[in-house]
Subunit: 404 residues, 2 copies
């Protein structure tokens, strides 16, 4: 256990591997992730190398460095490296995939009401641009079984459904969706699936080739603990020729020598800082080494803690657990009573309960909103630096705060 | 003077402010810039703050930090902060502006043959998407006077010209274009101007409000010496409502409280590393403090060195200076004989002369290509860390190498 400022609960013995402020009980890995000190040091080494000779770095060294990072990531995701593009974040991945899909005026794009608000906006913009229509499938929460999700998605299809954007792990409600089954159902019906796997890498044992979706995007900076700005879009081979980055640069016209057009275009979208991408292998190695069981051990440790924390908080709040254990990874959402003062899906204001927990208890934990009228939940995250004592302390904070 | 490895010429006394490899004669600031140690340290402080509590940083602190950085940048550029969006690079700026302009099948987009190849690709893609036509204006080089550029651009217009993408400082040929005059001519004729000012900030005393173009994009990571990934797109007030980032995220639907839709959309395009943008004020202060004359002193020192270096190299190579002094900032291109083995506009291979200078003389200086069939130049850059001795050494290297 690491010593904490007076009054705060102990974190796990692994917390010292992160530079997280010990004065905050950090139960929100989900929003932006958190990067271990050693991974940040590796990134700093890449940055120092870049700054020592920017031209050598970008022109002579970067293509091979990107290939190395991509191979390591592809192995971690069980994905085809040829279709793996680095992007800044999963939102960019969803936008990029939407731009690749030809949509016409009578087409429908299916989404669920547990989808991420930013990506929902991207779907709305794509629909407005093309005249397509967004069809939102409502899902129950609490949710009795993963099959309910697949059934609801299939029921939402029509002969006009052209594409679907479905989460692998939902952002507001922390549910692991049965993505293999959903992908198979949509594939059978000729619906183009974009999987928003923002939270999946590092939380779920991924097999992107097995899922087989045309598009799968995910963040490396969340549960894999890479630096901010590390994410990917995996594109199935039959979609690569028509998938382009949102920024056109040199790769669009460069001659094809030893690299595909896909790779030439995605690997260079103008000068930027590529070190988050290059540091992905360090995140895979560093975090995987923190548990004797490697990444399977990391995932199962985080999941056990999330389940234990959810059970405890449900009991404190007098709620039933809102989903079966099998739908939980390392995020979990506990339903809260709705707010009566606001009915927006995406509320930029911090929820009063979230603000109170931060101000009075130094707890960073989000209150999430989804659906219209908005439903509301407290979403907890468990990563290696967390300990059950922190969630018990959250329970104390919740008991002391009205939940409204 | 800073001591250098045996055989290499001395750099300027200011070179110690950069972490550039002293084993390389770095005469290519233009391609990717170079960031002073102190600016990188400031960026590291922002990163440490981010990693100590990512949620506090992104949710509670970032909007105000971005406002502060934007105000400082707006003052430096004499731009309206309300229309100033941070982007990763000028290529992204050009792509974003192109997406905002409604183009139809009979429209023409004017470009010059000295334009940046990546942005030319973006124009081609925008034209292909909409059925518009790209009209390339050829410019002479050597070039007798800036008026020749304005005249050529105006001659290239037709009743179908809808938009123009024109550089402020050309990438392959290092020429400062008379952008105020060009902007006025295009404005009078109702042509929508996108200025690619990739190289201008920090090289030219900018007054974006005075230029008055609908769109002006520039990099902060080049001549301002900010970290990689710091750039801007300045959008005139009448174009802001229809200009959106290429990535749709939360801002598209967030309620307007104290921020415009433009700002909400551009300030958040998914999780990434915003520290290059936040570090722009440090670059303005740090580099401006390295010359007793502040930024005007920095600019004129760099320009004097570029002019002296160009004069010296032209004399070594037996060429006339290819343009009047008034068209030189801190980049300069010396024409070379064309290559006979290749006729591509954008050649990803490193030119044999560039390779020889790097391998045999440890000189980093680019050979640029433009137009079709490709013309060829040696492009030098002068920044505070450079000394005239480095360019004399380049002259020795050139004399020893065939220029073909």
């Amino acid at each position: 256990m690491t010593n904490e400022p007076t009054g705060l609960p102990p974190r796990s013995g692994l917390a010292g591997h992160w530079s997280l402020d010990p004065g905050v009980v950090f139960l929100n890995h989900g929003s932006f992730g958190a990067c271990p000190i050693r991974v940040l040091e590796t990134q700093n080494e890449f940055r120092a190398r870049l700054e020592a000779e920017p031209v050598r770095f970008f022109i002579r060294e970067l293509p091979e460095l990107l290939d190395t990072a991509r191979l390591k990531l592809a192995a971690f995701l069980r994905a085809d490296p040829e279709g793996l593009a680095f992007v800044a974040n999963a939102t960019t991945g969803v936008n990029t995939a939407l731009a690749a899909i030809p949509l016409a005026a009578c087409d429908e794009i299916l989404v669920t009401d547990h989808g991420y608000a930013a990506c929902r906006n991207a779907v709305e913009v794509a629909a407005r641009r093309t005249g397509a229509r967004v069809v939102e499938v409502p899902l129950p929460f609490p949710l009795a079984a993963p099959e309910r999700v697949t059934e609801a998605v299939v029921r939402g299809l029509s002969q006009h459904t052209r594409a679907a954007v479905v989460d692998h792990v939902t952002s507001p409600t922390g549910l692991v969706f049965p993505i293999n089954e959903i992908a198979a159902e949509l594939e059978n019906r000729g619906v183009i699936l974009i999987v928003d796997g923002a939270h999946a890498p590092g939380m779920i044992d991924l097999d992107l080739t097995g899922i087989g979706a045309p598009f799968y995007t995910g963040n490396c900076h969340k549960w894999m603990c890479a630096p901010k700005g590390a994410a990917f879009l995996a594109v199935r081979d039959d979609w690569r020729a028509r998938t382009h980055p949102l920024v056109t640069s040199h790769g669009a016209a460069a001659p094809l020598v030893d690299r595909s057009r896909f790779r030439l275009e995605f690997d260079w979208t103008g000068t930027g800082d590529p070190t988050p991408w290059l540091t992905v292998p360090s995140a895979v190695e560093t975090v995987g080494a923190l548990d004797p069981g490697g990444w399977p051990g990391v995932r199962s440790r985080n999941r056990r803690l999330a389940l234990e924390a959810m059970a405890h908080l449900c009991s404190v709040l007098g709620f039933q657990q809102p989903c079966p254990d099998g739908m939980i990874g390392s995020l979990a959402a506990i339903p809260l009573p709705p707010r009566t003062d606001d009915n927006r899906r995406s509320n930029p204001d911090i929820d009063p309960l979230q603000e109170r927990l931060f101000r009075d208890f130094s707890i960073e934990v989000p209150v999430t909103l989804w659906s219209v009228p908005p439903r509301r939940a407290l979403r907890i995250s468990a990563h290696l630096y967390n300990a059950i004592e922190e969630f018990r302390y959250l329970g104390v904070g919740l008991a002391a705060s009205a939940c409204g």
